[in-house]
Symmetry: C2
Subunit: 338 residues, 2 copies
């Protein structure tokens, strides 16, 4: 058989399950993600977890552009899935990685993305234990889409039904950073260099909070932003929420970019923040834990869960003392933000 | 707020994490996949498995066309992931589902696909416990891509390192049916109505085989076909394999279609078959178990694992008594077959 030249771009055959798929796995994946489970190359990863009480989650990532200030699609795909496991009260253990790649995609871009995935996973003690690569013809996908599914071992409980009127709401830091960074880069806004995605893995901080007790529910306000997360809480608990605008941390550059594009920062995606609903008596303790951590140093108590006699709503006391309803965003603002 | 008309096509906002995403989940997903875990709508599904010894796998599905004789992308996405868990020696328990959908995709097609996913999952006692939906602009994806990741509880061991010279190879039925069905439909071959994908979930049959003991390794020969699976075995074990062409079941329509398109059926994808490596003394028993099952009634002992003094190879004794090497396919034959 003729010796084939090393391709520099993704070919359809890279997803064909033959020689080129095998080479992709052995040359590009295994060295970056090396661990005993992955090295077995069986159809499923075999894991021995401490317990059968697990969290299990999935997310696909279609962010555009693939590389942005503060991260890239690879880092995002690892952090996003770690965070979904973390806020649900589990310790993230293992991820599986599935790529859909357009024919002609540069292999050196793929390498950068895989480097980022490997580095982020390692930094967070999470193993990439399995994967899949599919290729599609040029024009049938936009570069690369990544799916990460994850498994974590549960050690705490985050549940809507633990939430009661009087509970406090902690936001772990500034909002809108991720969404405004992506959008500003896409729109070519001049001061985009001032913006940086908050893309980060929260598991260490969330585990310290859960272990301190008092946390009833936690969620990361990604697509739909803070507004969506708070509305999901009211919808599922039938309780209302009152928040104070003055207590919501927003960086000036994010606010300026949002104003310029006519967007409400409350609806903008975050990728390294959480909203935690906490019993009133544990609030100070939990806020201190947040503030003692790099990822939570701008944490703030932004509001309170309240009884409602009518339809539950999210209401915001504005800086000038007025009140406005914060609706569930429709969803149109920001396609391909993550 | 103005009452919005029900959209008939996927909008970008369906993936925006706001009202429309919520509606998609509550109207389209929850009723079809209903179970207590999913209904919680938390960031991660919470599972209580019998054991922490699990299998974990992922696959993305980009098959084209979306609907084909014998199945559709939804059925494929459930069966494929069940099979990866099953051949690894686990009982499939839960799947998470992630969709990437192109703006403008017909919602009634989505409903058909979700129906198929729900039906196939239910028939196989597997729960859809979580999910994610992303939307991309028209032209940024080809209709719909589906990722399913799955978790199963391990009860048996399938491992390359258990394989020894003298072990027998059982193939569970005819090969090439899935790949040739897809390709014939795409190429508009006249007798395509005679072809039908073998798309099926194998977990019940594989569990009976594993429980009968004697099974050392199992894999489903999907992309790359039987040739890829056998070559993966030789590569990982450093042993050779000898197979008999006359013993490999192939339906006449599949053979005719492959001949017409100049393809080798050994390289064509299957979606409801397995290759099992079995100790010689357990072969008859295992073959009987296969033949007693609907999905294994055409099972056949196709060859033997052999010692090698040199580079391990897959060798086929042809119908006329000659010998030829079965190489690892390059991978170019069949893009978007699954």
């Amino acid at each position: 058989m003729k010796q084939k030249q090393q391709p520099k771009k993704i070919l359809l055959a890279h997803g064909g399950g033959g020689q080129l798929t095998d080479e992709l796995i052995r040359r590009y994946f295994l060295p970056r993600f090396k661990n005993d489970v992955l090295a077995e190359l069986t159809d499923s990863a075999k894991l021995n977890l401490d317990s059968g009480s697990i969290c299990f989650t999935t997310d696909s990532y279609v962010v555009k552009p693939l590389f942005f200030n503060g991260g890239d699609i690879g880092k995002l795909a690892v952090c996003g899935t770690i965070n979904d496991l973390a806020v649900a009260g589990s310790k993230p253990v293992a991820l599986v990685l599935s790529l859909i790649i357009e024919e002609g995609f540069e292999l050196d871009l793929l390498e950068k993305i895989l480097d980022s995935i490997g580095k982020t996973a390692k930094a967070n003690n999470v193993s990439i234990v399995g994967g899949d690569t599919k290729t599609v013809e040029t024009g049938a996908a936009d570069g690369i889409f990544i799916n990460t599914a994850g498994v974590g071992v549960r050690f705490a409980e985050s549940a809507f039904d633990k939430i009661r009127a009087g509970d406090k709401i902690i936001l772990s830091g500034t909002i809108g950073d991720h969404g405004m960074t992506i959008l500003s880069q896409r729109e070519g806004i001049k001061f985009q260099s001032l913006l940086k995605s908050d893309c980060a893995a929260l598991a260490e901080l969330t585990s310290r909070l859960f272990n301190a007790k008092g946390v009833k529910f936690m969620r990361d306000p990604t697509r739909g932003g803070l507004a969506a997360t708070l509305n999901e809480i009211t919808k599922s608990t039938r309780l209302s929420i009152e928040i104070n605008q003055a207590d919501i941390p927003i960086s000036p550059a994010v606010q300026a970019a949002a104003d310029m594009l006519g967007l409400d920062v409350l609806n903008i995606a975050n990728e390294g923040k959480f909203v935690a609903v906490i019993s009133a008596k544990s609030t100070d303790k939990c806020l201190r834990i947040c503030k003692g951590s790099k990822l939570g140093k701008k944490a703030s108590v932004i509001g309170t869960v309240t009884e409602t006699s009518d339809v539950p709503i999210v209401e915001m006391i504005t800086r000038i003392g007025g009140r406005r309803i914060v609706p569930m965003p429709y969803g149109r603002e920001l396609p391909r933000i993550c």
